[in-house]
Symmetry: C2
Subunit: 269 residues, 2 copies
DNA sequence: GGACCTGTTCCACACACCGTAACGCCGTTT
DNA sequence: AAACGGCGTTACGGTGTGTGGAACAGGTCC
């Protein structure tokens, strides 16, 4: 059997009739987004995705025609191209919460002198879509566009806590909670209690749950149904954050309350 | 001959052996970025790109598996998905000029009370990669990620003017200057004089050259070789901009001078 | 110089993808 | 109501296209 039939993606169910080569091309493309390195070689990709070098080469040549990837003739290595950027920008341009939250992130970062971030949810994950870093020496900086699970870290827990009970149970039922660090909550009962506490407090906090040495406070921006549209966080190095947390949380809630109001949310009661 | 061989893309030369279906899939994907509407239907795409409905449907189904596009089951219409966003964010995260210029755009917008934008060049075009809009009623707002030619409008001319003489001639030799409005400069000799004036002044200005009713001033951010890394503009409605232009240009140059210095540029002389 | 990487090209065969055409499914129209 | 036109989706069989393995070419490193 030369071609590996079926296989498909890890995520979704059936999706009708698909073209194997297109699906593989999409896989190659997404690999660029998921890998930390800026450039990739043909062999590197072929090995990572279990494809033949020839196939990867042909795919890259095809994607190159539309500018989705670029080839550096000197190094013979490939990277994401202008087309990919335009694709992402076209998406971002349609997420209006980002435009609205932008100035607030700047304010928040200035007032706390820490990094302010904005995340949105994509199914069982979330991604950072914006960040504003303060002008000081030691800061936190996140990678935009990388998917993170919903159970580890401040922003993630803030999302999870404000979903419906059904959605939370659905998330939990999917499988075991993978630890990202030694501090990640992996026990489901513990996580349920934590989420209840977050709803009570109105914000989540995390010390090294997702990334060692990083700490954050995070709160959701709610729409007029009370559903979390996005999450704002303030994060910094764990050492100095321990004493700043309360102050940051205050500033954070002030910002997210204002943003939620702009998105049509009205406080209960 | 059922399949239309060759054809390829309008832009590039040969690119070795390519896979027709992947190239077409990329074409479909890019169509989402280029079209102003958020969602597209199968027939709509098929007609726009001259493909059969069946082919478009199969391509969309394949892209959907990797999350590059999403299907709204209610309307049966497709839009860009989370994967596309992650792709773009992965790119943007690697453009550090954007991170550095961000705060300056905020400052600039506040000081002028107009829209501040940031563009980067992609070959014979440029795209807006960021914008900050002021909090007032009537404002300019640009579309991020859409490609614009280099001869029409403030930001475009600012790029062109600061390229090398060889690059400028190469651009001009490519074909006639397509007018985007009645004010677009279409005569090459006139454009050359205009570019010289821009280099002299240090900034470009435009009234309705790219978009009717829109005006702007724009200046480049230069790296340590004096090459334009990016262009910053301040833009607004043409009517009120006529009297604001000089003041905006002052603020603009202050910002771009600071940014160029940060990128390693040192003023000549 | 040769061993060992890369990325790229060649080739003939199998089979995956192509377009045509028919299928449901909604809205609106007659 | 029933017929229409629009949509997105599926079926099908033939052909031409993409497949993987292996050979090629151009590097760098011992």
């Amino acid at each position: 059997m030369p071609t590996k039939s079926s296989g498909a993606a890890p995520g979704r169910e059936h999706a009708g009739q698909v073209i194997a080569s297109v699906e593989r091309a999409a896989h190659v493309l997404m690999h660029f987004a998921e890998t930390p390195s800026d450039t990739l070689g043909v062999t590197e990709i072929a090995e990572a995705l279990g494809m033949s070098k020839a196939a990867v080469h042909r795919i890259l040549a095809s994607l190159r025609v539309r500018g989705l990837v670029e080839l550096d003739p000197a190094t013979r290595r490939y990277s994401l191209g202008a087309g990919a950027m335009r694709l992402g920008l076209a998406c971002l341009d349609r997420i209006d919460v980002r435009r609205i939250a932008g100035p607030e992130l700047v304010t928040l970062s200035r007032r706390t002198d820490e990094t302010a971030t904005l995340s949105i949810r994509t199914g069982r994950h979330r991604v950072y879509v914006d960040q504003v870093t303060p002008a000081r020496e030691v800061i936190m900086s996140v990678s935009l566009g990388v998917a993170h699970p919903l159970h580890a870290g401040g922003s993630s827990k803030a999302f999870l806590a404000f979903l419906t009970g059904e959605e939370i149970e659905d998330y939990l039922s999917y499988g075991p909670l993978e630890p990202l660090t030694g501090n990640t909550i992996v026990d489901k009962a513990t996580l349920r209690r934590e989420l209840a506490a977050i709803r009570e407090a109105g914000y989540a906090q995390s010390f090294s749950e997702r990334m060692p040495g990083a700490a954050s406070v995070a709160a959701p921006i709610l729409d007029h149904h009370g559903r979390p549209l996005a999450v704002v966080s303030v994060s910094g190095p764990a050492e100095r954050f321990r004493e700043e947390a309360r102050h940051c949380a205050e500033m954070l809630l002030e910002s997210t309350t204002r943003l939620s109001a702009q998105m049509g949310w009205t406080a209960p009661g």
